[in-house]
């Protein structure tokens, strides 16, 4: 749908169906969202499987319900694996898939680009204290 050119402008082509385009947008939004990003981050840091409780501890501020939902979505998107060990008490481990790891690398690249331009964004916010919009954290 979109190609960015060397000169910083764009070229728009129609190689994706609407459904594919919508799916790509959705994945982009999900992967950049607050909780999924932080969860993938934690799992990447761990460099191995983590139990539910460990993830809950390390993702500061998340509730158990939201973590469960986040992990379910990540799992159904193929970014995280969920492994149940049928013990008593049960043990469940989550791990980043190769696909999830690759996606995280890409997202982090964008994140770093933004971090490098932080002075610009900070300056903009000082200059235009208009809408201190949609921030929760």
């Amino acid at each position: 749908m979109v190609t960015n050119l060397d000169d910083g402008t764009f070229d728009f082509c129609e190689t994706l169906t609407d459904a594919q385009d919508a799916l790509a947008r959705e994945m982009l939004e999900r992967a950049s969202a607050k909780w999924p990003l932080r969860v993938m981050h934690i799992l990447a840091e761990a460099k191995g499987p983590l139990r539910f409780s460990r993830v809950l501890e390390r993702v500061e501020g998340i509730s158990q319900k939201v973590l469960t939902q986040t992990l379910r979505t990540l799992e159904s998107d193929g970014l995280v694996t969920r492994t149940l060990y049928p013990q008593v008490p049960p043990r469940v481990e989550y791990e980043l898939t190769p696909l999830g790891g690759e996606l995280l690398v890409e997202v982090v690249t964008l994140w770093q680009w933004i971090a490098n331009r932080l002075p610009d964004f900070e300056a903009a916010r000082v200059k235009a204290p208009r809408a201190e919009a949609t921030s929760k954290s």
Copy 2:
């Protein structure tokens, strides 16, 4: 805060304050969100200023209220300029800033990466309905 290495793993360093890190995360989330991305997209396509009404027409499915909010946020983040021409009836034009254009390039890069991996994501979604995970060992 995070550096991705050649081998696909990560290295975590502490060059940003918590506040800066939070800001970068917030910008990442905003720029990847549904409406802001589509609005920036439209403005980039236009390759010049667009009136409010034109943007409203071209961003399919957005309401006037949400478009106003979205543009306010983009403006206060320095991604879009708002120019008011004090006429009757008033005319207001929005245009992508250089910073906004650069950010869009980066986001589109990620978007394209995702689009290239769409088969993987589609496959994951088909496979994942509610299969009870099998133990690995």
